[in-house]
């Protein structure tokens, strides 16, 4: 039992490092994008636009980082789960909190027939867990505990911080490129294409505006799929048995309730992918692969 414990802490370190790397890369892309855009819009005010753009972006990132849990909760329309109404939910979370040494997160419920759940927040002290009403109704005690252990693993591994950051940054980049691409329809480059360097910048800006959201999203998704396996195995470490989580995943597999549309930015936070999409754009590995991996634990 010694090595998994150690790798568990390595997981956290790697996640913190990844978070840092991701922010730096995205900020660089962002600066390049803002610079290219400002060069196109107006050469004279490039510097001012750059500064204002950076300040606004940073404000956006900082605010959404600190409000991330609230935003995620509000965007899916979840409500606080009271202790009197959901005593088992609370008691199971308290148990896993003890097993993992984490503080108890805030608990929420969202109205949804499909079995699903997600965790969010910027660190274990400011974490939330949200269950669908379907999960609370259809899973038995052990399965529910398995799902909770999986979500608590996302919290313990600092996945929630990483996911929150990526969601925020992906959102920011796509907002900027949207604004820019749309503004091209209306204004066009003021002053026409006399300036050669302006044309080059225009091309760079367009390419960046189109490519950067896709690139960042692909990186985010690839990492997020790996994270699901890691969270499954950490959950087994907390529970000391894979049975609960495994049978919960099987139930999701056989459940054919249609899922409500969930905003893209939060879809990677969920236990199982909430939308049907092509493999590259999947936030989660296929359920059958996850069940098979749990079999080998």
């Amino acid at each position: 039992m010694e090595s998994p414990r150690i790798s568990f802490y390595n997981e956290i370190k790697r996640n913190k490092r990844n978070s840092f790397l991701l922010i730096s890369v995205v900020l660089l892309i962002l600066l390049a994008l803002v610079y290219a855009i400002s060069a196109v819009v107006s050469r004279e005010y490039t510097f001012i636009i750059l500064i204002i753009g950076t300040i606004v972006s940073l404000l956006y990132v900082v605010i959404s980082y600190y409000k991330s849990a609230d935003i995620a909760i509000k965007s899916v329309g979840a409500k606080k789960a009271s202790k009197s109404q959901f005593p088992m939910y609370h008691s199971l979370v308290e148990g896993i909190a003890l097993a993992s040494g984490l503080p108890k997160p805030k608990l929420y419920v969202m109205e949804e027939k499909q079995i699903n759940a997600f965790a969010s927040g910027r660190d274990p002290k400011n974490a939330v867990i949200c269950m669908t009403t379907g999960a609370l109704a259809k899973l038995d005690k052990q399965e529910l505990e398995g799902v909770i252990a999986h979500e608590m693993s996302h919290i313990a591994n600092y996945d929630i911080r990483f996911m929150t950051l990526t969601a925020v940054l992906v959102g920011l980049i796509s907002i900027i490129s949207q604004i820019f691409l749309r503004s091209l329809w209306y204004g066009g480059g003021s002053g026409g294409g006399k300036d050669k360097s302006k044309v080059i910048f225009l091309i760079i800006a367009i390419v960046l505006a189109i490519l950067s959201p896709i690139l960042v999203a692909l990186v985010q998704l690839a990492i997020s799929r790996k994270r699901e396996y890691a969270a499954d195995s950490t959950a087994v470490k907390f529970m000391r048995t894979p049975t609960g989580l495994q049978s919960a995943l099987k139930k999701i597999q056989h459940n054919s309730e249609p899922q409500k549309k969930v905003p893209d930015a939060v879809s990677s936070l969920f236990l199982a992918k909430p939308s049907k999409s092509k493999e590259w754009f999947m936030t989660h590995p296929p359920l059958s692969k996850r069940i098979a991996k749990l079999d080998r634990m």
């Binding site: 039992m1 414990r5 308290e94 148990g95 003890l98």
Partner: protein
């Protein structure tokens, strides 16, 4: 000549950083052990606080099971008196066994089993049982990572310098988690 001064400075800085890092790691791990111990005692206390209510409620139904009830009451009394972490855990185990036999006996009292209050107390005790098991699991994990740190190179050297000793592995069995599950 200048190069050697730089090398010396870098070596000293790295050494200082390592000393700080290992000291902080040991403190963090010790803190974790302390925390896990207090979590266990909190849960044990919660369980023993449920006992008077439970005994009062059961007394009326179980006229012929005096010995089971006194066993529970005694176990709780020794739990209250128990000193130190080890003593409390031992008393907690005793109380757990006593409660187990109480719930086993209760199976033959349909009136009691039909009581809403009793059912609620039973679920509460079972939930605490699970939490005790999880808290123990965390305690065992914490001791393990601390001891691993004191025994592996280079943590071993720093443990020697700072005087952090391997903690006695007061192993608490984990298998009890599977024990009294309430069936409906």
């Amino acid at each position: 000549m200048n190069i050697w001064i730089w090398v010396a400075i870098i070596v000293v800085v790295v050494m200082i950083l390592m000393f700080l890092y290992y000291y902080n790691s040991f403190i963090t791990l010790l803190q974790r052990i302390k925390n896990s111990k207090s979590q266990i005692t909190v849960q044990l206390k919660k369980r023993s606080d449920l006992v008077p209510n439970l005994v009062n409620m059961v007394k009326g139904y179980m006229k012929h099971e005096k010995s089971v009830l006194t066993e529970v009451t005694n176990a709780r009394a020794s739990m209250m008196k128990a000193k130190g972490f080890e003593g409390k855990v031992k008393a907690g185990n005793q109380l757990q066994d006593a409660l187990k036999s109480l719930f086993a006996v209760s199976e033959s009292y349909p009136d009691l089993k039909a009581s809403q209050n009793f059912l609620q107390l039973q679920t509460e005790v079972a939930a605490i049982e699970d939490k005790v098991a999880y808290a123990r699991q965390y305690y065992n994990d914490s001791i393990l990572s601390y001891n691993t740190m004191t025994q592996k190179v280079p943590g071993m050297w720093f443990a020697g310098i700072y005087g952090f000793k391997k903690q006695d592995y007061f192993e608490i069995p984990e298998e009890e988690k599977a024990a009294p599950k309430v069936q409906f």
